[in-house]
């Protein structure tokens, strides 16, 4: 019997869907493509492999042997009961987002350092703002990357020619062979690096160890001139503590692409917090063509390996959450 593969299309162009179909043929899969889990209906419960967002099938199916999610943050699928069978393989597409997330992180960092939001507000009113505001440069800034995975590495590589004073990466393991990191520390030493951080760029997965990692205490360790950029997960920041730090000018500013509640409710105080720049979770989505291509390449690579009985490359450790 052929293996059944169901794809829940996350917004892929025909050319990329064709690549998946070709790989399915090569690997002896019977393939069906839908726009949503609802559209797929009951047959999804017969699928051996699912590529896409199918939380119901993950929770209920007895036939599912592998689910690949087309984004990076695997926390929802690592929660107890999110996938019915412990043997079901979970892969994510973390490696596809480093490019777009690092471009977003660099943009937000430069916008904060160069005071762009203040100039933009004046331009809105047809005002040529003077005197010129003090600006800062990435050059000679001490950058701390909280999260040293694919995203952190991409950010670091793009930062290097801006000549920061140093790039310190902090991760759970405290280990990496990325040559763009000047220093690599385990998360247990975060409090040591915060006081010598000019820009803190966060790209953490959402795990029990990262929830509210930026809170009243850790925020208080940052210098007054510090900027914070978060392109990872909204759960990493205690938002009332951040709002307090910004409103009291305990730190210089922040830029968030992610928040705890998304979409952010219209009445949330974050919208109007002082020195806070928001973008609506658009750093790491399918808007950039390269992300879609890379995503499909990664899935097809693993599909070939799956058919050959080789270990998958993009496996998530469900006990770690990433």
């Amino acid at each position: 019997m052929e293996k059944k593969l169901i794809v829940i299309n996350p917004g892929l162009e025909e050319e990329l869907l064709e690549k998946i179909r070709t790989t399915a043929r090569q690997t002896g899969c019977e393939i069906a493509i839908f726009n949503s889990e609802e559209e797929a209906g009951d047959p999804i419960m017969e699928a051996e492999i699912i590529y896409g967002h199918a939380p119901k099938a993950a929770r209920q199916s007895d036939h599912l042997k592998w689910i690949c999610i087309p984004w990076a943050g695997a926390d929802a699928f690592c929660a107890p009961g999110a996938i019915k069978h412990a043997e079901t393989l979970l892969t994510n597409s973390a490696g596809a987002f480093g490019l777009t997330l690092s471009e977003h992180a660099l943009m937000l960092t430069l916008m904060l350092l160069r005071r762009e939001p203040t100039y933009a507000a004046a331009v809105q009113e047809n005002v040529w703002l003077r005197p010129v505001l003090p600006q800062r440069s990435i050059k000679d800034s001490r950058i701390t990357l909280l999260g040293a995975g694919d995203i952190g590495r991409h950010i670091a590589r793009r930062l290097v020619p801006f000549e920061p004073a140093c790039i310190t990466a902090v991760s759970r393991s405290g280990k990496s062979d990325e040559p763009s990191f000047d220093e690599m520390l385990p998360q247990s030493r975060l409090e040591e690096v915060l006081p010598r951080t000019d820009v803190l760029i966060m790209s953490l997965p959402s795990t029990p160890e990262t929830i509210d990692i930026l809170n009243e205490r850790t925020l208080s360790l940052l210098p007054r001139n510090a900027y914070i950029v978060n392109v990872g997960r909204g759960t990493a920041i205690d938002e009332p503590a951040l709002i307090h730090a910004l409103e009291t000018e305990q730190i210089a500013g922040a830029a968030l692409d992610v928040t705890k509640t998304e979409p952010l409710p219209a009445e949330d105080p974050l919208w109007k917090t002082k020195n806070l720049l928001l973008t609506p979770h658009v750093a790491g989505n399918f808007a950039v063509a390269y992300t879609r291509q890379r995503n499909v390449e990664m899935f097809c690579e693993d599909l070939l390996r799956y058919a050959e009985g080789k270990p998958l490359l993009h496996l998530v450790d469900r006990s770690l959450g990433y």
Copy 2:
């Protein structure tokens, strides 16, 4: 008799003024520091060397042997009559601005490609904009740098790790040994490269050959998806032609840090032009500490050479205008 050096302070901190004083002592100069040419008064006409903005002394003084302007664009001082004596040396501080201008250019490029102004307008209204807009990446984009001097080089070096498809630099001479440029063309071949340009980044000096170099005809050669970024001089763009190209969606968007008239009058149509991002000439000023340090270093370097009778490093060719 001691050489008289007058400094018109462009906003330098005490530490940097002290560095100038020390170098003045070393080189046997009598130094006086003022905040403006007006404040300096008549004694400025006795100065042998001026570091700073002193257009009146430049036009009228018979004693001036060298004037160093603390910014890059030398066009005003190259105009006929702007400096009374042909033998008076003119230096600029072009090398001090590549860093800050390249950071601004990268920020504007990313903001255009990632549709930041559209998201910012929604955030202004507490709106979490959906659906996500198509975005583009520097990766695989064809970048044309119009202007291949210090600024163009700094931009190219910072672009490289973003993996553009190619970086083509265009300059008057068409020559450069910058390894970050994939291709180097003379200005006479500009029309050949425009149709294969996704992002055009302009950092030209203002000279007769660059005025309105971007006009109805050259704009029409760009593809519909093209973005334009100008951090050089406002004179390089025919603004009504640009407005027309943007309003009719002949190109995708533009970001200008410079305009023909500055400050931009409140009634100028540029303020509200579709898909146009403005910043009020803040890319290359004294707002970043590194610019001030480098500026003073460059002047002091040349002051030592001047005292030793060596050729100055940062000379402007007044016939070329840069």
